[in-house]
């Protein structure tokens, strides 16, 4: 009975097999094809929605990111900021600790920097002040990340919800202090440029160099250090980790402190090497975008340079489209969404091979 059934069973129209390995040339080819498909598909939508020539739209996107020396520096700087936050979430992600609190952790760092400037900027000589501010930012953000880590390690609470909620607390804290410090209850704290980090080369370079050094360090830490290996083992299987004598609680706590500390550093750079003040929108959702950057790069810090560059480029391009064509800002966001969807989608074709049913006559 079974045999009859099997022989009459039709092969499905499409079936998938997992690829063993794929040559890097082929994987680049698939990715390039995905980007071309995305651009073509988005072009059709642009024509339908905005009646603009898609080539002009793409040109505007490109110029929005690379159109002038200042724009290029802005692109690199913003890429580094996003990269920094993405670096922060990565160690936790490799441990399968879903830290969705990078937004809040970075904001706390930024708030600490602004608080240092506001409260005792004039009470210390500048070099000492910079040192104190840097340490303070790293410590407060690390503590902000440590809280959910302790609850996860000892009470096994859900880290996703916990870290998400911590974001809201961070935002409310900033609102509270802005109300306290802002002039006349306007909720705005003016710039305090006298406590800005010194300009190294140009206004961006200090942040760019810091983040790039950090990227290399984190790559080495995750890849070659014993602690990095422990993170991977805990991520693969907690039981295995316990079996081989890794103190899982310790690894969770230590890794989240690193996550928080990096966020604190980025928050510091945002304030002391940029805005010189803090607002609830200073991080602007990059704490969440960082999750995508990290995933897109498969948690590899070096690939994350590319994925954060891609996302910042798309963002800059999208806002240039809005300016140049006076279209709704959602058009730019739609294009960004399509391109990202195709890029993420093509990973599927890199990992799986698609087989179509061959037309065979003997199969009745």
């Amino acid at each position: 009975m079974m045999k009859v059934h099997e022989s009459t069973k039709k092969e499905p129209l499409i079936h998938l097999t997992k690829r063993d390995a794929i040559s890097w040339q082929k994987s680049i080819l698939i990715r390039a094809a995905a980007i071309i498909c995305a651009l073509l598909f988005a072009a059709i939508l642009i024509t339908l929605l905005s009646k603009e020539n898609p080539l002009n739209v793409y040109k505007s996107m490109f110029l929005g990111a690379f159109g002038s020396e200042r724009r290029i520096w802005n692109l690199i700087n913003d890429t580094c900021i996003l990269l920094g936050i993405s670096l922060a979430v990565t160690p936790a992600f490799r441990m399968k600790f879903w830290n969705c609190g990078a937004e809040g952790q970075t904001l706390i760092g930024a708030l600490t920097a602004a608080a240092c400037m506001y409260l005792f900027g004039d009470k210390l000589p500048l070099p000492a002040f910079f040192a104190v501010m840097t340490v303070a930012c790293i410590v407060t953000s690390a503590i902000w990340a440590l809280i959910p880590a302790i609850f996860k390690a000892f009470f096994n609470t859900n880290e996703t919800l916990f870290t998400l909620m911590m974001n809201y607390i961070a935002i409310q804290l900033i609102m509270y202090f802005l109300k306290l410090w802002g002039k006349n209850g306007s909720g705005v704290l003016d710039r305090m440029p006298e406590y800005r980090f010194p300009i190294v080369g140009n206004q961006f370079l200090l942040a760019i160099i810091t983040i790039l050094v950090l990227t290399v360090l984190l790559y080495i830490y995750l890849r070659y250090s014993k602690q990095g290996y422990e993170i991977s083992v805990v991520g693969e299987s907690e039981n295995t980790a316990k079996y081989i004598g890794i103190n899982v609680k310790k690894v969770i706590i230590r890794t989240m402190i690193i996550s928080g500390a990096i966020c604190g550093l980025v928050g510091l750079l945002l304030v002391a090497n940029g805005s010189c003040t803090v607002s609830t929108t200073l991080v602007g959702g990059q704490g969440f975008t960082a999750i995508m950057v990290s995933w897109l790069a498969k948690f590899n810090p070096l690939y994350m340079i590319l994925s954060s560059l891609l996302i910042v480029f798309l963002g800059k391009g999208a806002s240039q489209i809005t300016t140049d064509f006076r279209v709704d800002s959602s058009i730019g966001d739609i294009i960004t969404g399509i391109i990202l969807l195709f890029i993420i989608g093509c990973e599927f074709f890199i990992h799986y091979k698609v087989h179509f049913r061959k037309k065979t006559k003997e199969e009745e």
């Binding site: 002038s68 200042r70 724009r71 802005n74 609102m175 109300k179 006349n184 209850g185 306007s186 909720g187 705005v188 003016d190 710039r191 440029p193 945002l270 940029g274 805005s275 010189c276 003040t277 607002s279 929108t281 200073l282 602007g284 806002s319 809005t322 300016t323 006076r326 709704d328 800002s329």
Partner: protein
């Protein structure tokens, strides 16, 4: 099959009931003409072919606040015959270093005049003004131009408290109508107000609105609920709902989203809006909206830059300049005679016989008449009148007057 029929029948009933609630379009009286004519923008000077204006906005068209600026700048662009490449608009620019970068980018593109629309942009505009002395920087709602004393940095506002007062008259008359109809007693006449921050601009706004309403409905009181944010659809909607639950019979707001107007439309409570008409989506609750028309200011600064004239450090436009504007009045909701009453008040403003902050009309601290108030060392109460926008263009009236009850000055629940 029965279930399908039932579902169909329910859908049919729902459709009918939706139409039953709103009167058919052709039975609506709709909006009146605006009670004062819109500002006329005339070009009586030459504009350089390579002149460029850069405009920085906090949000985009989704925010009524920003939409009001965008409409104004596009109107002036058209009246002056400027091309799209001469008016460069950057939206969604945050109140942080992005603002400075946007301003610098606009200068790179050849703009000789850069405008920013949000209060928090100010210190970044000053930063840019110091770096690019050959470019003029204009900032709406700011307060620091006089103190900074830069030749190329300027603040601007409008005497919008006059517009709020006019809108308040419409609110008071609506309350009177509802009292006469027996819906509630004169003592129960209470307005709810959704405010952003306990900031002078907001306080000046709700106080003038309240005084306008009180001028026609003497028993009116007002509850103010703050959101602690300039733009938060959910919070503004929740604040409006909370005020309605507290017994407020009419709602107005100084916050930039559609949160409060939509909540009023849902609850069937009349609403006096701000920054522009919400008539299209709130036909059964919208009465009138006051707003600042920024077109006269854009026209003024473009003219200054092209004729090498100096721009005022503190510019405050009024009814005369066309900077204070009212939308048409929704005749289906507003009380009878509202249009005429507002027009009469406008004439009084023009003649200078009506003053919003006349200390004969309000008291502070349970019955005290204020006699002195200093702003930056300057006395602003003259001959019994609190002179708003005299020392600086941005409002500074921040007295807590009797009759207005602030529910959450600390922005909590």
């Amino acid at each position: 099959m029965f279930k399908k029929l039932l579902a169909l029948a329910l859908v049919a009933i729902m459709c009918v009931s939706i139409f039953a609630c709103t009167p058919p379009e052709d039975e609506l009286k709709g909006m009146s003409e605006a009670p004062m004519p819109a500002a006329t923008i005339t070009k009586d000077f030459e504009i350089d072919a390579d002149f460029k204006l850069g405009v920085i906005c906090l949000h985009d068209e989704q925010s009524t606040y920003d939409l009001n600026f965008l409409n104004a700048v596009y109107a002036v662009q058209e009246a002056f015959g400027l091309s799209n490449s001469q008016v460069i608009v950057k939206t969604m620019i945050g109140e942080d270093d992005t603002c400075y970068q946007a301003a610098a980018d606009l200068v790179d593109q050849g703009c000789t005049l850069v405008f920013a629309n949000s209060f928090g942009h100010e210190s970044f505009m000053i930063q840019a003004a110091k770096e690019f002395p050959e470019v003029q920087f204009c900032h709406a709602t700011g307060t620091q131009a006089a103190a900074e004393n830069l030749p190329n940095y300027h603040n601007a506002f409008a005497s919008i408290y006059e517009g709020r007062y006019l809108a308040g008259i419409a609110a008071g008359m609506k309350l009177n109508e509802m009292i006469e109809a027996g819906k509630f007693t004169a003592e129960e006449a209470k307005i709810g107000y959704v405010g952003a921050f306990t900031y002078a601009e907001v306080i000046s706004g709700y106080t003038s609105f309240y005084l306008g309403a009180k001028s026609v409905c003497p028993t009116v009181t007002m509850d103010v609920q703050f959101t602690g944010s300039w733009f938060d659809i959910t919070e503004e909607s929740n604040a409006a709902k909370a005020l309605i639950a507290r017994g407020c019979k009419l709602i107005s707001q100084h916050a930039d989203s559609m949160g409060a107007p939509s909540a009023c439309e849902e609850a069937g409570i009349p609403n006096v809006s701000y920054n522009g008409s919400t008539y299209q989506t709130c036909k059964n609750s919208f009465i009138v909206s006051s707003r600042i028309d920024w077109a006269p200011y854009f026209a003024y600064i473009i003219k200054c830059v092209n004729t090498d004239a100096a721009i005022d450090t503190n510019w405050c436009g009024g009814i005369k300049e066309g900077s204070v504007a009212l939308t048409g009045i929704n005749l289906d909701v507003a009380a009878e005679g509202t249009v005429e009453a507002i027009k009469a008040a406008i004439e009084k403003f023009k003649a200078g016989t009506l003053n919003v902050f006349d200390t004969n009309n309000f008291t502070v601290n349970n019955g005290t008449k204020p006699t002195s108030h200093q702003v930056g060392g300057v006395e602003v109460i003259e001959n019994g009148i609190f002179k708003e926008s005299k020392v600086q263009s941005a409002p500074y009236f921040d007295l807590r007057i009797d009759g207005i009850n602030l529910l959450n000055e600390e922005y909590g629940e």
